[in-house]
């Protein structure tokens, strides 16, 4: 398996854009710089509604988890959100143990995550 594949797909929920980021492979100290570059580029372009699909992620290191927390704070400060979907059990266990799952919401499917992002927007209006 290639070390890390990143596929980004723009979509809309309730008339507002969401970037779906589908990740496959592993994010460790070797592949992290590319992950950081792609994610920071999205946020710096003004994409504050992010859905990370982790279904095919085999490993995620602490630095990548730290970046997710940093981005989560950044998008929230800009009235956006960062959620994750289809999290493998092994990674979900790490997110739970570190308390990250209390902040970054996880969903069983991309569809559920998109619905939640739309609902959250409704509640803010």
């Amino acid at each position: 398996m290639k070390e890390l594949r990143i596929a980004t797909e723009p979509t809309e929920t309730d008339g507002r854009s969401v970037q779906i980021v589908r990740l496959a492979g592993y994010i460790d100290a070797h592949s992290y710089p590319r992950f950081e570059e792609e994610m920071l580029a999205l946020v710096n372009q003004g994409h504050y509604r992010l859905l990370l699909d982790l279904h095919e992620v085999t490993y995620i290191c602490s630095t990548a988890l730290g970046l997710m927390l940093q981005l989560f704070r950044q998008v929230r400060q800009n009235a956006g959100d960062l959620v994750v979907a289809r999290v493998p059990e092994k990674i979900a266990n790490i997110l739970n143990l570190l308390g990250i799952s209390k902040l970054i919401r996880a969903f069983r499917s991309e569809q559920e995550a998109l619905q939640c992002l739309a609902t959250a927007d409704e509640q803010r209006r």
Partner: protein, 187 residues
């Protein structure tokens, strides 16, 4: 639990990191005492060998019967420890610096040696590097809530090592390097 000392281990094994010599990696299995098996992996201290280290450790942990979520905890603890060595002890040297080191025939100085001992009730992983003394304080307590709340990444790796393993010990061998021992019990 985490402890630190300056003495060698009680198993009579060499304390310092091994040099990989001409080969990039080496893995061996030696049966030393009944009921215990020892395996070793030596890799260059470079990030592109981290996956090999993870594969090595997870294969052993699975074979021992650790459930998947525990295998994941061992995997991330070992990866974080090795990544920490590469970044801090070996300074994440540039490719040019590595070439210079290789031309001077001292490439082995940047090796990471991982020794794994399999017991009936636990796995013991000992990670050797040839870097300067490891700061034990880096593994000390961390307010994870503060880290999560602030979005600060630094410190999570050390927290993971300390939290996900049952025992963590550090030994510094003067003039040779660091030995970090991680222990996880079955069940």
């Amino acid at each position: 639990m985490m402890t630190s000392d300056n003495h060698g281990d009680s198993n009579g094994q060499p304390p310092a990191a091994e040099r990989p010599g001409g080969a990039c990696t080496a893995a061996r299995c030696v049966r030393r005492t009944p009921g215990r098996r020892d395996l070793a992996l030596v890799v260059p201290g470079e990030t592109d060998y981290l996956q090999l280290v993870r594969d090595f450790v997870t294969a052993i942990a699975r074979k021992m019967g650790f459930p998947d979520h525990r295998v994941g905890e061992i995997e991330i603890a070992v990866d974080e420890a090795c990544a920490n060595i590469i970044e801090h002890a070996y300074g994440n040297a540039s490719l040019r610096e590595r070439v210079i080191v290789a031309h001077h025939g001292d490439r082995g100085a940047e090796a990471i040696t991982l020794r794994v001992s399999i017991y009936g009730d636990r796995i013991e992983l000992r990670i050797f590097d040839r870097g300067p003394r490891f700061s034990v304080e880096e593994l000390e307590s961390l307010d994870l809530a503060e880290v999560v709340g602030s979005g600060r990444a630094r410190g999570i790796g050390s927290y993971i090592i300390r939290s996900f393993m049952d025992e963590v010990r550090h030994t510094y061998h003067p003039g040779e390097g660091n030995e970090l021992t991680l222990i996880k019990y079955l069940g």
